[in-house]
Symmetry: C2
Subunit: 379 residues, 2 copies
């Protein structure tokens, strides 16, 4: 079958969309690998579909080829649609480029190039073998690997900062209140975000004030245990905090031991937490103030590739000040909460010197609330 080098074919978009849909099924479980989906099709007929379930298991292309073989389909001369460039290296599985060549696939449509220098090269290998390769740079395919594309080249996880505020930039009309600012649909969306990130993180103040549990309710099954992280800039949090209790509504093992990030020089102050939490001392051994970048590096070394930070205002300000945030997700409630004691969405930071270029790329109504999201602009 003659390929159409450099020319998209009608229907390509729909198949790449389907490949992205399949990829998204493992958005939480594939990490630290990127989620990938694949479809093998010919003449408007799908011959096989697959996605990468988790690290160590077959890649999407191999899953799709196996599904086609299982259905007795002949894939010779067919087109493979993959949300991400097929890998070209011997990692925990063999190179997908070779599997596609061996199966005599005639054409490969790729949603996004692989940002991983170790695994990339699949497109070149396929073309060397005479296979027609099309790269669509599909926005959905690029969004799927946004976190992966960052952490693969960075010493820290991809940090998404999620905050909810009123139209006047307030999170509570007075300090200390556990204030329900947004509606149920927004809270459901936050649950999705928790599920999609390798870890959820809050500052010590949020634990002290809200005694947040940081669970996903109702429970959503996830192959990797949920990771919860408490950032203690100086002092420890109470040992009886609910974040340290195993949530009794979820299956045993669904939650990992909560991680506490503590300053390297505060070991004696955090000793009491060691029986209930995984206390990680970061930064210099005499530091009494947490080095946030060092703390994030420690998370990355433990295999946490993406973090959803849910505040509070002090931690949010610190992360922005130190330019450690890659994406912001802002829920804005349609109300005003100004009072003389109001708690602003960010506190204690001086952000005039921090990188201030953000690019809005998502906006939508979520119930009665508004969700705006922006990516750091690298300006």
């Amino acid at each position: 079958m003659e390929g159409y080098r450099g020319h998209p074919v009608a229907g390509d978009g729909a198949y790449i969309a389907r490949a992205c849909e399949l990829a998204a099924r493992a958005i939480a479980d594939a990490a630290p690998n990127p989620p990938v989906g694949a479809v093998i099709a010919r003449g408007g007929m799908t011959l096989g579909e697959g996605y990468h379930h988790r690290r160590g298991e077959p890649h999407a292309e191999v899953e799709a080829l196996r599904a086609a073989a299982g259905a007795g389909a002949d894939v010779r001369g067919a087109t493979a649609y993959v949300s991400l460039e097929p890998c070209n290296h011997h990692g925990t599985t063999g190179p997908c480029s070779e599997a596609l060549i061996a199966a005599r696939i005639a054409r490969v449509v790729v949603g996004a190039r692989d940002p991983n220098p170790t695994a990339a090269g699949g497109i070149a290998r396929l073309r060397d073998a005479g296979i027609d390769v099309e790269i669509t740079a599909d926005p959905t395919a690029l969004a799927l690997i946004e976190r992966f594309a960052y952490w693969i080249g960075a010493p820290i996880p991809f940090v998404t900062l999620k905050m909810a505020m009123s139209l006047d930039g307030v999170i509570a009309p007075w300090p200390g209140g556990n204030f329900a600012l947004t509606g149920a649909p927004a809270r459901e969306r936050v649950r999705d975000l928790r599920f999609e990130h390798d870890a959820v993180m809050v500052g010590a103040g949020t634990i002290r004030i809200d005694d947040a549990q940081l669970t996903v309710r109702p429970h959503r099954t996830r192959r990797k245990p949920y990771e919860r992280v408490v950032v203690c800039e100086t002092d420890a949090v109470p040992v009886g905090s609910r974040v340290f209790a195993a949530p009794n509504t979820a299956p045993s093992g669904a939650y990992a031991r909560t991680i506490v990030l503590a300053p390297g020089g505060q070991r004696e102050h955090f000793a009491a937490l060691e029986p209930v939490a995984d206390v990680v001392y970061a930064g210099a051994p005499d530091a009494t103030l947490l080095d946030l970048a060092a703390a994030l590096r420690a998370l990355r070394q433990r295999g946490i590739a993406s973090v959803l930070c849910e505040g509070g205002p002090t931690l949010a300000g610190r992360l922005l000040e130190r330019q450690l945030v890659q994406r912001i997700v802002w829920f804005v409630a349609p109300r005003f909460l100004q009072t003389p004691q109001a708690v602003p969405v960010l506190t204690g930071a001086d952000l005039t010197r921090a990188a201030n270029g953000w690019r809005f790329d998502r906006v939508e109504r979520v119930g009665e609330d508004m969700l705006v999201s922006a990516r750091v602009g690298h300006v």
Copy 2:
């Protein structure tokens, strides 16, 4: 021609959209009347179009009938599309319902019902005359008369509160700075808003700090002079403020004398402004603090039916606190500006007791910024 009572006809939407487009041409000039547009059509052919140019001039329906007659078209049996219910009263012009009946129009499609109890009744009159009437309740048609629908039954103007802030609810990183927060497209949108409202209004602080001129640059011709209002809660503003100077880039007469709203009991403190401004003393004759509701009533009595308030944070807070705002227009810049001296978007108010139900109904990117808008929810 047989009408299709109660059933929309293909193409109705496009004609109503066109009627709304025509109406919008006079959005500034028709006030205090609502803007109205009309199209007479038959069999997919437009016979005549018109809109209400300004109070005292013919209504849209009459303009459209005249245009059709001028073109030698026979309108008998045709359909009239009007963005607003035809009037049924003898105001400064005759009732449009009678004009349509006399012209033997067979069918009338109405974008929005007339909220004015004095003028309404046109639909009933048309139906009594055997004319088929369809009401589409088109969102664009309803948006066109939003301000009119409010002030026709209220003792104060429709107040739109427009503010621009950073993602952390800040308008400037430190007090006193004239800080360009949003981009050129957002500033252009503000110019449109100034043009569409009967008056633009700011607090004394904005005059003292920014020395704002409140003009529309580049100048946009407008039949009614631009009205500028300065709200002085207690003290006067400097007599040399630029808002009192006749803008020398605009045609003479384009700007009315600036209105200063002053507390009833502060006459001697505002006497110095009387030569340069139209000082309106509102509220009780011994009041030293401005009664905002009384001040807005005074504007309404002077024929100002809609006001665009552009802050600052104190006036914005006061207006919200007293529930005098009907729509908010919030520009959000994709940046963070928190500092220990940051100026929040609202100050000095306690909004926990004010009506807090707002409904987001518009959101869009404007250049690099985000615009969200909400209507008060009357909860």
